[in-house]
Amino acid sequence: MNIKDIIRMLRPLRNRMYFNTGLFCLFACLSVAGAVTTILAYVSLWIPVPYLVLNILYIYIAFTVASIFISILAAPGIKSLIETADSLGLKERLITAWLLKNDNSEIARLQRQDTFNAVSKTDFKSIYPIRFPTKLAIVLAVLLVITSVSFLIPSHARRAAGKMEKLQQVVNEQIKNLEKVNEELKNNKELSEAELKKILDETTRLVEELKKAKTEEDALKALSRTENELKKLDKKEQLNKIGNALMMNDMTRALGEAINNDSLTDMKQALEKLMQQLEQEEISNEELAEMLEQVAEQTGNEEVSEELKQLAEKLLSDSKESQTGALNNLDEILSGMMQSQESSGLGQAMGQLSQAMQQAKSNISRISSRLPASNQNSSNSSEQSTGSGTGQQTAQESSKGGSNVPQGGQAAGSDQAAGEGLGAGKSPDGGGGGAGEGSTNEDAGYTGREKPGSGRKVGEGYEEKYEMLYDPDHLGGYTDPSYVSGHKQEGGTSNFTEVDNIPVQKGAILSYREVLPRYSKEAASYIEKTDIPAAMKEIVREYFKALE
């Protein structure tokens, strides 16, 4: 008889202890998980927590796994087994036998025999039952109920979390697309090392920003920022900007057109003509220098801008040679840009990237529209905009200025077709952007020109360029109402608002950031003065908020 025989007989007790410990650990861990998830569920009513259900599930799984590990670690040791057995009526027989396990004296042998007899007579199943942790189970059940109740409570944060989930999914998809494009660009032999590096740096930064983006606005801003940064690399874009800027003035219109038409010959001719005019003093060098400075400000590329400013300075000098030299330099700069635009594979790369980013923008901006109506942030008037058909909108705009000046208009209307959209009014020469019934804050940045009466789905406007806006000198003044024609179908409703005080005075093309505060301020004061539904006011506020 040795101690191993005795310990072997304790196996049923050991198994039961193990099972009880495991059961206790499991319920204890699940209760802790329940407490954590309850807190999380209620916190998510105020703070958006994306993937809440999934997170709750993960927490329970994590704690269950933890309980298994704890149970394994908490396997009853021999000492604990012996102590438990002794406490069950074996009266310290086991601990004595264990301590005397190496003692071969007669009394130790007798003691072991006595212990063995006592253990063999003991029915551990009856004296050590499986203990179900009832209290912990009740606590867990209560916590589960409390957590479940939180899902019945409507919450703004929950809806926001839903959006964040969608955003994350879309962003992840778009990141994959961008990475794919990046891989393709790496294989593009026509790209110079510097260009590739710049592109990769920008896209890497974009990916990081997209990962960090908490709202669609963040993601869209990141995309726009990257797009702008990449555009600085795009010679064609720069040339277009320069061309557009030059076209603003009669003096340089021919040069601008030549640049826009990518015609090197025309460009050279236009420059020669400019030189002649300058020599014959048909145009003043100050005027031309001023023009170049304006162009320099709008190129968006610091290097080119600096060079153009230097040329403008040279033009201001009294020396005819210096002035001619300046124009020659301009010829060199423009020729260089046009040639490099033709030779480089950058255009192709930019096209790929632009496409990828446009797609990303489009997908991100559609997030809200994919969500159920209850999840949308805006309390728009989609309910009343039922039916199908093209929207009919009426916009009132005031128009002043020459025919070559882009005009802006603002309209309010409802899109019958989708029940949500943007009403757009358009004057004959310009584009107008405005929040119509059902538009949401996702329309931020939208300045795209709309065809008269065309409805637009939410978010579509992000795909448009919004860096440059028409900037009226002031808002206000009396204007004639203008009507945007549309076709109204059965089952739909439409409304229109005659909008007074519309900004339509001669202005300039400026960065939208400069224009936005004025628009925002005027719109805010207007909606306070006008009798329009509160929900509409909210849409307008959200619109400008998003733009900001």
Partner: protein
């Protein structure tokens, strides 16, 4: 020492026989009898405390007969002298009429000494027993005499009649292995006592053992192993009676003046071994410690004024300390 199962069974059998024989003369008092036997088998002295007429003297007397031991009784009175207890040298004249001193052993020279109403003797006489109780020897006129083996002192005292008594000093109390409280019998037991003692029935007592066998039993029970956790428990229990130690619970710190001496720990372990054997075990359990803690410690705890004024007893404190121990 090599002991066998047979030895252990013999111990149990002998104790049961002793108990059976004693019960012929003693009605009730089962626990008291068992505790006195445990104390004797541990080789210790017992102090029996109880009001007069509860059978203390009868118990000791009966035990002496049943165990086949030489028994003597000393009735302690205030005029009892130490020489009356331990013996003295007396002059003896031989045939030539020359005198010589010869030691005349006192009543202490027995196996079982009943020191009846020990608190009635003066401290001087009481202390005459000190050496006998602890060292099992007596020194008279520079000569040390060994007392017969086994040697036990079973003293009695009356707790209520305090006038003209000399409470035992702490040092002497500590020499007693157990202090046993003799309870008043129940109604049924009382009826049986009256019936038995007022009739003509005379039961013959048989000696079921002798001194040699008792010595062997005492040797056997000392072999019973004590596991470390059980020993630790006993030691911590004793430490807990000392208010200045970390083991002392709040109640001990508040009400105890002095705690038990190391003799208290010795008493617990040695008697717990016997209790384990009598329970049919080959090891000491926590419950044995619980069982012997009261008689082994109650006369070793000295309550402070606060404890006494609140009417606490040593047993109350022992209960609290045991409860605090969690075993």
């Amino acid at each position: 020492m090599n002991i066998s199962e047979k030895d252990i069974l013999h111990v149990i059998d002998t104790v049961l026989k002793i108990e059976t024989e004693v019960k012929k003369q003693m009605v009730g008092q089962k626990e008291l009898i068992r505790q006195v036997i445990i104390c004797i088998l541990a080789g210790g002295n017992a102090l029996l405390e109880g009001v007069p007429g509860l059978g203390k003297t009868r118990l000791v007397n009966t035990l002496g007969q049943v165990m086949g031991l030489k028994f003597s009784r000393i009735q302690f009175t205030p005029d009892l002298m130490p020489a009356d207890v331990v013996g003295t040298n007396i002059i003896i004249r031989d045939k030539s009429d020359s005198g010589m001193f010869k030691f005349q052993p006192g009543p202490v020279f027995s196996n079982i000494v009943l020191a009846d109403e020990i608190n009635r003797a003066t401290p001087k006489t009481q202390s005459a027993l000190l050496q006998a109780m602890q060292e099992k020897t007596v020194t008279v006129a520079n000569t040390t005499y060994k007392l017969p083996q086994p040697f036990f002192v079973l003293a009695t005292q009356n707790p209520i009649e305090m006038e003209g008594t000399y409470p035992l000093p702490e040092a002497q109390l500590d020499r007693f292995l157990f202090k046993l409280e003799v309870p008043f019998p129940t109604l049924e037991e009382l009826e049986e006592i009256v019936t038995m003692t007022t009739g003509n029935i005379q039961l013959e007592l048989q000696a079921v053992t002798d001194s040699e066998e008792l010595l062997k039993i005492m040797e056997i029970v000392r072999e019973i192993p004590v596991a470390k956790p059980v020993l630790d428990f006993a030691l911590k229990l004793v430490m807990a009676t000392h208010p200045e130690t970390q083991y002392a619970p709040e109640i001990a710190k508040k009400y105890i003046r002095f705690g038990a001496s190391p003799r208290g720990a010795q008493a617990i372990i040695s008697t717990a071994r016997i209790r384990a054997v009598l329970e049919g075990r080959y090891n000491v359990a926590f419950e044995d410690i619980h069982y012997v803690a009261y008689p082994a410690l109650r006369h070793r705890l000295f309550l402070n004024f606060e404890g006494l004024s609140e009417g606490l007893t040593a047993d109350t404190l022992i209960s609290e300390i045991l409860k605090e121990s969690g075993k």
